[in-house]
């Protein structure tokens, strides 16, 4: 399975995410939300006519638990986040995708090298489990990080 890093402007970020999610919509998606709450993301996707019934959300923005089918993990705890992603990948049988929006947001809370290590671990694990990874990052943020993580992805789109 492939892993893709999409680098785009802030304005186009959400639309690119929507497009990707729409294309996977018959399969299960593990959606790691780093710059919007799960509630906001769900509303945006629904507005685009995208079904969220097969989307498993990991909300890293808020710890307010409004639904019991949403996992809340602080963006400071990369180990916990990595383990949660891995657990979802193991538990969900069949074809699935991993979507990480605004990867560079992790730089606000973590050291660059730690984020790079996190990305490496996640992409490697996903690859072993035949899970396609789509990670998004705004163009203006975290250039140093992007330079470090380019090589972890099979494809980089700008």
């Amino acid at each position: 399975m492939t892993s893709i890093l999409e680098i785009t402007s802030v304005e186009n970020l959400q639309s690119r995410i929507n497009r990707s999610v729409k294309s996977f919509n018959n399969d299960y998606i593990i959606y790691v939300s780093l710059n919007k709450t799960q509630k906001s993301v769900e509303r945006i996707l629904k507005n685009e006519g995208i079904s969220v019934s097969k989307i498993f959300f990991i909300d890293c923005v808020t710890n307010e638990k409004t639904r019991d089918d949403v996992m809340h993990i602080p963006p400071t705890d990369l180990e916990k986040l990595r383990f949660a992603i891995g657990s979802f990948i193991k538990e969900i049988s069949g074809k699935k995708f991993l979507v990480i929006d605004a990867l560079s947001t992790l730089l606000i809370y973590n050291d660059e090298n730690k984020v790079a290590a996190f990305v490496k671990e996640v992409t490697e694990f996903a690859s072993k489990k035949d899970v396609k990874v789509i990670a998004f990052s705004p163009k203006t943020k975290g250039e140093e990080l992007l330079n470090k993580i380019f090589n972890f992805f099979d494809d980089v789109k700008q």
């Binding site: 019934s53 097969k54 498993f56 019991d68 089918d69 949403v70 996992m71 180990e79 916990k80 383990f83 949660a84 657990s87 979802f88 538990e91 969900i92």
Partner: protein, 186 residues
């Protein structure tokens, strides 16, 4: 003159007879010392309480006596002493006390009392033995130190186990939650 002489002679004749009586009177003292059970085993630095019973069989008159108390070690060394002067008639019982030095080594000791009528030589003695043991407070303190050490070690061990196991518990919790979410949705 003859009367005076005969009196004097009588006195001289009687004197040898009187002497043994006075000696008998002086020697007719008895003294007994006893220790309560709680003082048969004491620690260094403690006070020993005892009872003394004196009997004066030689006279019904009040007699002044001195009681000398001594604590004697195995090597016959006197490690503590005390004196007391009092007047007794026929008998007297009273409670006394004497301090054991702080540096007294554990072992067997004797508490001796010597009764001396004032103005006469020693006539009565009594003694009782007791044991000096290691200070209870020392043994207790050591016991408390061990308990405290064990408690501290226990806390450190628990903290170590908690720190080591904490990530495992977190992972178990995450996996459990993920399973629940997936089961609900699928």
């Amino acid at each position: 003159m003859k009367k005076a002489e005969s009196f004097f002679i009588s006195l001289l004749l009687l004197l040898p007879l009187l002497s043994p009586l006075s000696v008998f009177a002086q020697g007719n003292f008895n003294v007994e010392i006893s220790l309560p059970n709680s003082y048969k085993s004491v620690s260094a630095g403690e006070e020993i309480w005892f009872t003394v019973k004196t009997v004066n069989l030689g006279s019904e008159n009040r007699v002044d006596i001195t009681l000398n108390y001594q604590i004697i070690g195995l090597n016959n060394e006197v490690i503590s002493s005390k004196s007391q002067t009092l007047a007794i008639e026929t008998q007297a019982s009273f409670v006394g006390r004497i301090s054991l030095p702080e540096n007294a080594s554990p072992g067997k000791y004797a508490l001796k009392v010597t009764l001396n009528p004032i103005g006469a030589s020693s006539v009565a003695q009594s003694q009782v033995t007791f044991d000096v043991v290691a200070k209870k407070t020392d043994a207790q303190t050591i016991k408390y130190i061990y308990i405290l050490l064990a408690a501290v070690l226990g806390i450190i061990l628990l903290a170590y186990i908690f720190i080591k196991l904490s990530p495992i518990f977190k992972k178990i919790a995450i996996r459990s939650e993920v399973r629940r979410i997936v089961k609900k949705k699928i």
